[in-house]
Symmetry: D2
């Protein structure tokens, strides 16, 4: 059964895409980042997610990045490829290409341009069509801060009925919804928390892992939360979670990808510039991030 074909437990960084100063993709620096991530306790990678600035990549670049990362890991780690496009047909075709490029699974964001028409019926129909045509297992991607659409539990559960839809990355931060989905979803359907800021809360409600921007720089600490939780050491899990919480906010809600890339530069990874319309961080927020990394025991 497809829902069991992948073990999605654990910590998955949504890889930041490294750009050179001239805007091109710095594959050599991605390579060195990957070497370092390779020694972290991660279950796999998301390529072409929000933190990968996928909307600022060309279609060719999106597929290329999937191929590059897949070639690097050589099957040793799961590669989840963000394949969402605004149209059903576009998403289907992108998924086929990404499968060909070596992806293990697809992460499909809710289409959102025609917001008011993206009701339960339209979304369930969209995901069913995409899954039906997909050569790979599909994860739903709910990220209301970016899309303006927050899929309710009943829509997620209806989509989850398709055998090829194996889970969801939920970035709504509503752990009650995570609980509702965990309780009512078909066997094997999993929930990944979409941020490191409520990872422990999500685990408590039944999530099995996280796709967290913070995992680009703090994979070990996030894994510690999961392990402590699993062995019943809630005290340790909570201590680690709270230690990370302010720096997590800085590299997500407060400063976004520019904040994450600044933190990566400080942590010995290559972060580098963002592509406009995002703007690189000014000095003051950089110093705040540096302070928060120290405070979190990360640097």
């Amino acid at each position: 059964m497809i829902k069991d074909s992948l073990n999605l437990q654990g910590v998955f960084p949504p890889l930041a895409t490294p750009f050179r100063e001239d805007g091109g993709i710095a594959y050599d620096l991605l390579e060195s980042n990957l070497v370092r991530w390779g020694s972290e306790p991660l279950s796999g990678y998301v390529v072409g997610g929000s933190n990968g600035e996928f909307t600022s990549l060309t279609n060719v670049e999106r597929v290329s990045l999937v191929r590059f990362v897949s070639d690097h890991v050589k099957g040793a780690r799961i590669v989840i490829a963000g394949s969402g496009m605004p149209s059903t047909q576009g998403t289907i075709e992108m998924g086929v290409e990404m499968a060909g490029a070596g992806a293990s699974a697809l992460l499909v964001i809710t289409p959102s341009y025609f917001k008011s028409k993206m009701d339960h019926h339209a979304l369930v129909g969209y995901f069913a069509a995409v899954a039906e045509a997909s050569p790979l297992p599909v994860l739903l991607y709910n990220v209301p801060a970016n899309t303006g659409i927050d899929m309710p539990a009943e829509t997620i559960l209806a989509a989850a009925r398709h055998p090829r839809i194996v889970g969801i990355k939920d970035s709504s931060g509503r752990v009650d919804k995570i609980g509702t989905v965990v309780k009512n979803a078909p066997e094997g359907f999993v929930v990944l928390a979409g941020s490191g800021g409520y990872f422990l809360g999500a685990l408590a409600m039944g999530a099995v892992g996280t796709v967290a921007a913070l995992a680009n720089i703090a994979g070990a600490a996030l894994s510690e939360i999961l392990e402590a939780f699993q062995r019943g050491d809630i005290g340790k899990a909570q201590e680690t979670q709270l230690r990370l919480i302010d720096v997590n906010t800085a590299v997500t809600a407060r400063y976004g990808v520019p904040g994450l890339k600044a933190a990566m530069d400080m942590m010995g990874y290559y972060g580098g510039p963002v592509r406009p319309p995002l703007m690189d961080l000014e000095t003051e927020p950089r110093e705040e991030i540096r302070r928060l990394l120290v405070e979190a025991g990360l640097s």
Copy 2:
């Protein structure tokens, strides 16, 4: 120190206000409800909260209800009185009256009519003025679904600096915010989850209790979550949390107070009618609630 003067750990039902068919308050039926709640493992009561339909009560009724419940418990349980009014002066005066009526603490909702003006500065100033004049410890009350205002962590933390502000009931459902507050608040400031739907997730992030509509009918089950969590039995805690989650949604987000009162009627409490503009539940949702109570093992 005031922040230690009350032990706010545990489960607090925000008491539904029982109305007779003619709309008057049914004190005799409130009495019998209280007798039954008295045998549940609850830490105290919230009187005049959202589930008490406080906006549909007169000021006199609000104080009367606090007096009635305080007289009933005779100090054996904490009575948290919802004292929020739209103006600073109104809230201060209501708090003084409720203190006189026997309340143990005040629960003060964010003022919300002049939404666009209720920025960080205005809210911190408001809560400081209210706390300064309050004869009792004060809990903040953040409930964006009703007020349209979601206090960010920095506003909560700034308000928490006042020695008489001892905690918050947060109903935003954002457990990352709970974690941020728990981590950064002064010693003794506590967070209570504002719903039973994410109680365990909130506990994991450092909350110490809950003010949950569901506690009107399921105090024992909610207490079970807390106890299992505290003894490190996450499996049991999660099982109970997920068992309750669908009925919790029904008596909160989906059907609100009319749903809660219908469930109370089914559970042997007196729920009775709501005051308009709320409307009593139709047959179909009632049957759904009955089914969900059974499914949750509550009835």
Copy 3:
């Protein structure tokens, strides 16, 4: 027929409530304001609206203000009394008292605390119950910036079927909705624009007047827009509308009631302090307002 019993055409200021420095109502200064408003080309007054800070008044004060203004105008001008309370029964009783105090009509805001339950059915039921029990004609009041509820055209039109519901003050700023209501409402139902910022746009779509904060200080200029529009001199109407538009923004969306009161003080009316949680304006915004009043040719 009730819908014809009042001529609601024209400009109605929602009177700011003058407070003394100690917070009490300054009736003597209200009197002098009224004398001056008396010489402006206004059709009447709204008492106890948002700009009157009604949520910061006691129920007794709200009725008192209606009596004071009604006694002053002695029937020469229409007095529209804001009678909305959070509960149906509360609104009904307040309306009866305000009628006894001399009001000509009631302005009833959408109840909004239980937002998610205030659907079409609940709102239409609410307004029907209020109108049914009302001794006076009723105007609906839609102000999403304060209530978080934006009544759609179909709800307004359903409510408008009650013979005693004679119009709406719509502050949503959506003039397409105004057009939809004007086109489809029963004969005699009128729309008043809820702000002076789009008065001409609303007139073009079929509104007959305005309840505008700006009318507290610029009744003549707003009347000029109406008169120029009615005689087909769109050039003049537009010139006046655009001349007023920036100062209108300052005393509404940008600085709200504190901005309006500051402007009143500068224009020779008594504005005075606001009641907390609103906060009086700082020096810099005051200077901006002073500059905008000059630029608008008002001072």
Copy 4:
């Protein structure tokens, strides 16, 4: 001066893109639609706008459509090409290609994926960079219902300072904002109303034209509004505006592009199917649209 190089007064339909049943673009049917639009009193066309389902077109298709329409009109009408992409570089390149394909001006939507980072500074920087690199005059495109971003007047005004930014299509429906922009923008910067539902209200506030979905089927009636307004016949303008208002709602807010295409089919144009994830209309809404077309005197 660039701001005077184009006369943007009048009615511009955002052309629906005709698809065959197999999903391909039906250029032959676009041709016959264009022949018929050619006899309507329109000032030009928007190609690749929201109603053109641009997010469901490939980049190649977007440019092709611009070329096809430009070749058809041979300079006799203005062709405004929707060139927005999620990244600055993408939008610049698309604009260059569309210029090469014959477009007269570019319509650039606000980037919206990284919503919380698209503040005043980021948006002004984005539009300045795009305009700086553009071979053609640029119109801003503000459509909060689709993007979740509503550019405030000050952002529009800051962007309008660039000499190559000549106007805005504003679909927010806030005519007070239109007035604020008209009053304060540099000479020559124009506002086009983004819907036919408030066209007259927008004209009254200083707009000079409209890009309205309804113009695909009712160009003559919309032009009538403009002409009557310009000659001071407000009665006639209002009568026409209100006559169109309900069918306008049906082909925009209520049923969107599927509604517009259904109406086109009924009016003798080729509407045809939409591309998923949009869904074609069911029978009942089709009948409602048919009824509203008749009621509006359009069919």
